[in-house]
Structure formats: C-alpha cells, structure tokens
Symmetry: D2
Subunit: 304 residues, 4 copies
C-alpha cells in the first residue's frame, strides 16, 4: 500500500520503519530532514512538504503536539490540501480531543476519511511493534486502517465511532500514570523520612495490589533515580496533563488530582528539571518534604 508518514521523532521513526520493512511504499515528511534521510536509506521516499506526503491511500501523522498537528494538517501545502478524495488520515499523535474533532469535520467536508489512533508505549515498544492502539472512527475507516495497526501494535482497542473519544482515553491513561507518579512519590518521600527502605516498600506494593506495569516501571526508576536520559520528558508530561485539564474544563468537570500533578510539573520545570524523565516528580516531592539529598545518599539497613 502507498502510505504517507509525517513526524519522525523517536516514536514515529520506529513506526515508519516497521511499515517500510513490511513492504509498504512509504513517503515520509519531517520538519528536520535528517530523520527522513535515515528512512530513505531503508527505501522510503522523502516528501518536500506535508501535502506531498499526504497524497497517498493512507497518511499517518505522529507529531509532537496540537500546534504541530494544526500547522501540518490545516496549513498551506498541508495534509488536508494534499490528501486525495477518499484518502484516509490516521492521526496517532497525543492531541486534544477538540483538535481531533475539528480534523474529523474538516476531512468529512472534503470527502476524506479520518481515524484517531493514539498509542500507549515507549519508543522500544514502537520498535518492537508492541504498541497498544486506541482506534476510533467510522467502521469502514477502521477496517481500512486495520492492516496498518497490525504492523505497529500488539493490540488494537476499537473505542467508538467518534475519533475524539480515542484521544480522550489516551489522556485518561497518561493522567492516571501521573497519578501513579505522584502517589508513589509521596509514599517514597514519607518512607525516606521514616527511614524505611523504599525498596522494601516497592517490593511489597508491587508484589500485592499494585503489580501493574505503571507501578513496576516507574517505581523502579524512582528508586534507582535514573531520571536521565528521559523516557518521557517532564515537558511532555506537562503538555498532556494540560490537555487533560482543558478537556475537563470544557465539560465543567473538576479534576483535583490533575491540578496537583500539573503544579508538580510546573514546579519541576521552574526548578530546571524540564528535560528529565517525568518520574523525576519524585525529586520535587522529596524536596517539598525537605529531602534535599537524593535517596541514594541515605544508607538503609537491610531487613535481613
């Protein structure tokens, strides 16, 4: 199939790679050309502008945020302009439900199809085609997208016929991850002040009620204090919780937990941690409890 792919960051590059290796004719576009060239070496064609990349049976966007998507899709020589009638746009970026809905309308007006398909998973999962894909849109469009999803992920959830629902659920997931970060962060700060080994705490929690990937991944990172290189940066975490809060505000729904983590991100960024992994919220929490040293400088006596 002829597929266009826009956005070759850490995630997009890995995904595009899987498509080209599966034999699809890929046309890629990226703001900075260098990432595109790596894919060209694998057989992809490089487009000069978004419209060019979009002039395919299927075009996939995997971009950083609402602004990037908005300019690439609605801008001059953009996706909307470039897509053929009956083409399909699969939007896999983490963006606001509101922008997703606006794209959905704009495509429909032009006789184009649109599916929102944000994902859960880090770059390694993308490379291993192990993403979880949350797909929403008209049934026929979902059916057409299915072979693509099968090349990119381990499982696809069909959410509903309204594309924006998938974007909302993606925000829910990231919001709940930040709740895990804050919850664990508070627990570890108290543990350290009580001179209880965070490792012991973590072993008990993840061995009983909290044995999910969210806790295992981030609990381990917090305890090892490996905040750099970032798997997911503070600045991106802030972006997503802001999208969550904006979506909730439109619906007049208070989200006090989201406020707390939003403030933590602001504080983290104000204190210079913007490029650390978002699990470094634990540092900000520890400092608010007067723990200026990192935990690793404290000695714990093992229980046995």
């Amino acid at each position: 199939m002829r597929i266009g792919f826009l956005g070759l960051g850490n995630m997009g590059r890995a995904m595009a790679n899987n498509l080209v290796h599966a034999g699809h004719e890929l046309t890629v576009y990226n703001r900075s050309r260098r990432s595109a060239e790596a894919l060209a070496a694998e057989g992809a064609r490089i487009a000069d502008h978004p419209a060019n990349a979009a002039n395919q049976e299927i075009v996939i966007t995997m971009l950083a945020d609402d602004n990037a998507v908005e300019s690439v899709v609605f801008g001059g020589h953009g996706v909307l302009e470039g897509m053929p009638r009956d083409g399909l746009h699969i939007s896999m970026s983490t963006i606001s439900p509101d922008l997703s809905r606006r794209m959905s309308f704009a495509h429909r007006e032009r006789g184009q199809h649109y599916v929102a398909a944000p994902v859960f998973g880090r770059p390694e999962a993308a490379a291993a085609a192990q993403l979880f894909i949350l797909a929403a849109g008209a049934k026929e469009a979902l059916a057409k997208a299915k072979p693509v999803f099968e090349l990119l992920g381990q499982r696809t959830f069909e959410i509903s016929e309204r594309p924006e629902d998938a974007n909302m659920i993606k925000l829910f997931g990231n919001f709940l991850l930040t709740c895990v970060l804050e919850g664990l962060g508070e627990v570890f700060a108290v543990a350290r002040k009580a001179e209880i080994n965070p490792n012991t705490v973590f072993e008990v929690l993840s061995g009983t009620l909290f044995g999910a990937p969210a806790y295992k991944n981030y609990g381990a990172r917090m305890i090892e204090e490996k905040f750099s290189p970032a798997g997911f940066k503070m600045l991106l975490g802030l972006k997503d919780v802001r999208l969550m809060l904006e979506a909730a505000e439109r619906l007049s729904a208070p989200m006090p937990f989201a406020n707390i983590v939003h403030d933590r991100f602001l504080s983290a960024i104000a204190n210079g941690y913007g490029d650390l992994d978002w699990s470094a919220l634990a540092l900000v929490i520890a400092q608010s409890a007067g723990l200026s040293r990192t935990a690793s400088e404290i000695r714990f006596d093992a229980a046995d």
Copy 2:
C-alpha cells in the same frame, strides 16, 4: 500451640477460624460475646477479659482502630498485664505506626515480644488463608510467628526489625488504593460528561498499563455501582487516610493527594455515604461534576 485471639470482626473471625481448624488451642476474646460463641462451637475457649486471652504463648490482636487496641492492650485486665514474660504479641490491626512503636516499647520493658503484622486482603481472602502479611519485629520473634503466618496468608513480607515500619507500609498501601479510587473516579466522571462509555475506558486501562488488582476490583465496582454491601466502608477509609496524614505530619512531609482523598471521604460522609463501600467516592466525584444521576441511568451506544 496455645494462642489467644482478640477481635472477632469480619477479618478476625475468619483468621481465628483457620487457626482453630489447624488444631491450635485457641482462647478468644471479643467485646460482644456473640462472635466468640460461634468460635467456641468450633472448639475455642472464651476468655472473660483481654488479660485472660493474652495469657498464652502467642496472642494475636485484630481490632478496629487505635482506640480499641489502646484500651485492650494498655487498659486494666489488658494484654500487657495478662501476657506471660517471654510471650509474643502479634498485632495485625491497621493502626498508627506511633501506637505500634509504643506497644513495642511497653512489651520490651516487661520482657515480652512484639511483632507488627498488618495484612492486605478482604474477609474472603482471610477465610481462604490468602492474606498478604507485612511482618516486622525482632528476628526471633518473627521466626516464632512464622507458623501462624503460614496458616493465615499466602505470602509474608519481612519488612524490618522495627515493628512500626510494617504499619507504615500498610498505610502506604491503603493510601495508594485511595489514589486509585480518586483517579478512576475523576476519569469516569469526565468520561460520562463526554458521553464515553466508562466500560470502554476501563477495558482499555486495565488491558494495558493498569492491569493490577487495585484497578480491576475497584474499576469494576465503580462501573457496576455496587457500593452496598460495603467491602470496606467509607468510615474505615477515612480512618486510614487520617492515620496516613498524621504519620506524615509527624515527619513534616506534605501529602497533597492524601488531602484530596481525605476531603472526599469527609464529603462522602457528610452527604450520608459513610456506610457505603469506599469506592463510592466515585459518586461524590460525579456530583462535584454536576452528574446527579448515577451512570447506569445514562445510555451508552456500544462501539460495535
């Protein structure tokens, strides 16, 4: 072994039952005699007062809260008084680390041994001997308690030599459960206002990053809105988050998430939900978002 058991509520009754069926000579004490009589029918002896029940090789307490433990242990004809020199007290109640430490000192002064061993698990898990046990205390005391733990639980975590550490970690666990309740509650409220089926949301979340018992049990309860009969009452949830906040305050550690859930519990209780399951926090959250009807009155169109 001769074992005393004080506190025959839903949890204690199931645990005592397992001990008596394993062939131990059990002497039980309960404030209201009726629960004790059921165990007497299984072969347990009934004590007139705590001291009497405590006059054994091992005495286990499984009581409602700090006040109950304090009066049963330190009061006249209490556990401290009744225990023999060299006896072992296993405190399995969910109580403050502070009270646990005070008991530890008091027993040591009298040449008695003390282990804190709070548990994770509901009454059904207690009945099935599937509890998780968090045990802390001196090594020899833990060794002596081990056969008892093996009859009561599926796994024992040895925490440290300081009994109060086990109580603190128990509070951490319950605190993180309340964070799950609040997080899911906020998500479901927004989902309902966005007319997204909470079931779909739940399926995605528990099928990806949040596949732990904490999410599965409470997410399902929230969606089914089965808040009564309570598995764990609001009023007990309030008690435990209060213990968490008090312990954190002594250590000068702020816990903003704990404050949020503490306020939710107060609001729930003020609005008459004190005897509902603590997952009914979802109701209070929904009402704060203007959702006066329960979700089940809203119709959702399935995605397929």
Copy 3:
C-alpha cells in the same frame, strides 16, 4: 476631545455616559446596537463598525473577554485598521497579559499608542466615576490618557511602562477576591455545622483583622444568600481565574489556591449556578460539607 468607545455592557455604558456628559465627542460601537442607541440619545454618534469608532484621537475598549477584544481589534474593519497614526488605544477590559502585550506590539508597528488600564469596581462605581484604574504604558501615552481617567475613576495607579503589567495586577486582584470567597465559604460552612451563627463570625472577622471591602461586601452577600441578580457572574469568575492560571503557567509558577477556586467554579457551573453571583461559591462549599439546605433555613439562637 474626540473619543471612540467600544463595548457597551454594564460597565462600558456607565463609563461612556460619564465621558459624553463631560462634553467629549463620543463615537460608540457595540455588537448589539440597542445599547449604542441609548448613548446616542445622550449625544454620542454610533459607528457602523469598530474601525469607524477607532478613527479618533483616543479609542477605549471595554469588552467581555480575550475573544471579543481579539476580533474587534485585529479583525477586518477593526481597531488596528481604523486608528490613525499617533492615535491612542486605552484597553480597559479584563484580558490576558499576553493579549495585551500582543496589542502593544501591533500598535507600535503602526505608529499608534497603547495603554492598558483595567479597573476595579462594579457598575455602580463606574456610574459614580469611582473606579480604581490600573494604568500601564509609555509615559507620554499615560499623560494623554490622564484626563480620561480623571473622568472615570477615583484614583489611578500608574503601574509601569509595560502595559501587560496592569493586566496582570488586575488578575491578581480578582484572584485574591476569589480567595476571600473560598476562605469565607469554608469558614461559614464549618460555622453552620458547628451551629455557630455566621453573622457572629462575620461581625468578629470584619471588626478585627479583615475590615476590607473584599470581606465586607462578600461576607454580607454570603450571609444574606443574595446570589441573584449577580453583581459578577460565576462564568466571569471562572474566566478570570482561568486567565490567572494561564498567565502563571507561562511563567512556570504553581498557584494551588487558584486551582481550588477554579475547581469550585467548575463545580458551581456544572451544578447550574453559572449565572449566580460568584459569591455563591459558598453554596458549593456548603454542599460539599453536606449542607443541602441554605443557611437561612437554620435557626440560630442569638448570643444575647
């Protein structure tokens, strides 16, 4: 002087009236023509579009929010287009510092002058020329605006040479007012639950440390429960706290109190109170404490 005036809501109408009565040649513009006609009867000229009203020595805008200002100023036939070189735009609306800064740049590029001059005061204060005016901009521009300010307010604060500073301080003021609403609301809810007469509480507080207009006005309203007609609507309160939070976010500064009141406004609006006076936050607070009845239904025994 020839003055243009755009925006004839409750505030603008009263202010424009003072200008026309002082003998200025006023040209007015309002989206709905009816308000303009009332002023025409007093001697004002009605403009067909914003550019027309802006083609004067001085043009004043007093509009509802950022969107209104943005379209009236930057839109076709807008203020930017209509103002003469060397004209002066006095922006008195409560808007974001960011939009104020953008207007400041846009005017400068065209050789036009710009002053931000938001106000404190309700419509009655505007009618009585008793507003407090927070003015910021270049010195010469402020000097030129001075005679206008003297006709509209009781006192002008010259803030700085950066227009956006005045807008920020206006947001500070409204934010602190919402803190007074929340603080008093929490106090009154606890007082009612403790069966203490809120009147007594209010008399003590306003007679000692809190004798400022902010407390006196809103405390009295809360106690009398006169939430309608609104002096300042919930929906406007929400708008202003949102502007405050957005401005703070750009600066990476957490504002936890602003989050709390933001959530209260959302909850108020979700529960149908959007058109009540913003002091009706007290109702939402009371309900969160389980006080479903209004205070006036509760009988208090007087102290004497």
Copy 4:
C-alpha cells in the same frame, strides 16, 4: 480582685502586667520560674503549682497549646483541683474547641464557672491593652469577667453561651490569616517571575479592595522579607491550622484551603524555617516556583 494567672509567655506576661498595674492582687504561675520573677518585682505573688495560683476569685490561663492547658488544668495540683467552688476560669489560650468544651463540663461538675476568651493581637497589642477578645460562656460569668477584659483589650465580642464557639472563631481568624499569607505569597511569586515590582502590586491591592490589617501587616513583611525575629512562628501557625482541620474533621467539613496551607507549613518546617515568622510561607511558595533567590536580590525598575 484576687486573680491567678498561668502562662507567662510573650502574651501572658504583657497581660499579667496590665492586671497588676491596675491594682489587682495577682498570683502567677509559670513552668519556668524566671518569667514569674519579673512579675513578682511588680508586686505579683508567685505560686508553687497551678492549684495554688488557681485558688482565687478568677483564674486566667494563657498557655501554648492543648497539651499545656490539659496538664495544667486536669493534672495533679491543677487548676480544677485548686479553684474554689464558684470560682471563674477564663481560658484565653488558642486551643481546640473540643478541649474548651471538656473544661466547661469539668468546671460545671464542680460548681465552678468557665469562660473561653481567646484573643486577636500580638504581644505589642497585649502590652498596649489593645487586644480583641472573643468571649463566650454563661451570661453571669461573662459579666464577672468584663472588668478583666476591659483592662486587657480594646474591644470584647460576646460570642454565645457555649465557650467552645469562641475558640472556633479564633481558629477561623487564624485560618483566614493563613489564607492571606498563601494568596499574597502566590501573587508575589508570579509577580517576581513576571518581573513586576511586588511593591507596586502591594500598593494597588492594599489601596483598593484589600486595605485590612491582615494584608497590610503581612504584605509589608513579605516584601521586606523580614521573617526573623518572628512575630508568630511557623510552628505555631502549623499548630493552629491543625486545630482548624481537626475541628472541621469532627464536623465532616472539607477545608481545601486549610489543607494547602497545612502542607506549606509542613514544607516550611521540613526545610528548616520552623522558627521564622509564618509570613515566610512566601519563601516556600517562591521556591516551588523556582525562585531560589530572595526577591531583594532582584532589581526592579520603578514605574516613575
């Protein structure tokens, strides 16, 4: 009149001084004798123990906290024991409504009278007999206490016949003060990050809607950053907001603003600011916004 006075801290000493200078026969008691000796030089008699000081027509307690009051009143050789039948106890300490109620019952059982009369005012106001007194109790008891109040304060508010109501309102006042601290602190942090002179902000706010002592005193302190010597220490601020939260919890009333300031106090104390003036909350707020330097190190350009 023969008056006993217990508690000669900064406040108590100044108050006792006023009483002895007005010609009353004063018997004083203080845990550390040195403060008592200064008063003896002015003509007061020193009691050996609380009961001795309490054996007068009127006994006044002005102690640090609930624990101090509880041990001095209920302990052996305590106030309860020492007071004559028909004696009057005036409790002026800032304590929990709950303890006040318990004292009220205990005195009634012994045929003794009890008035709660906490005050607003710092030591200088106490010395100048300019305190505000919040008095509650039976009418005859209040009448008997009146001459004492006239020697100590500028104005007495008669609250109700229930002593604990006065203690609750005192907590309300201190809670609202902490809200002023937090509100101003957030505003000043944002102002500094926006490079707006906090002085300008303060002049506008206190010159318009917020011209009350609470704002004037603390705003000035924050801007001057004179946090030491403390007028009122962080640790005392924490104590009072804790009492507020405990009283609200008993009534099942959430107080989210109180939670925020409670956390700020914990953070301040954890970071070593426990002995600074409570207005140093501004420092903690500034740090959470990444402002590690104090404001005075930042240069502001004056508006004129």
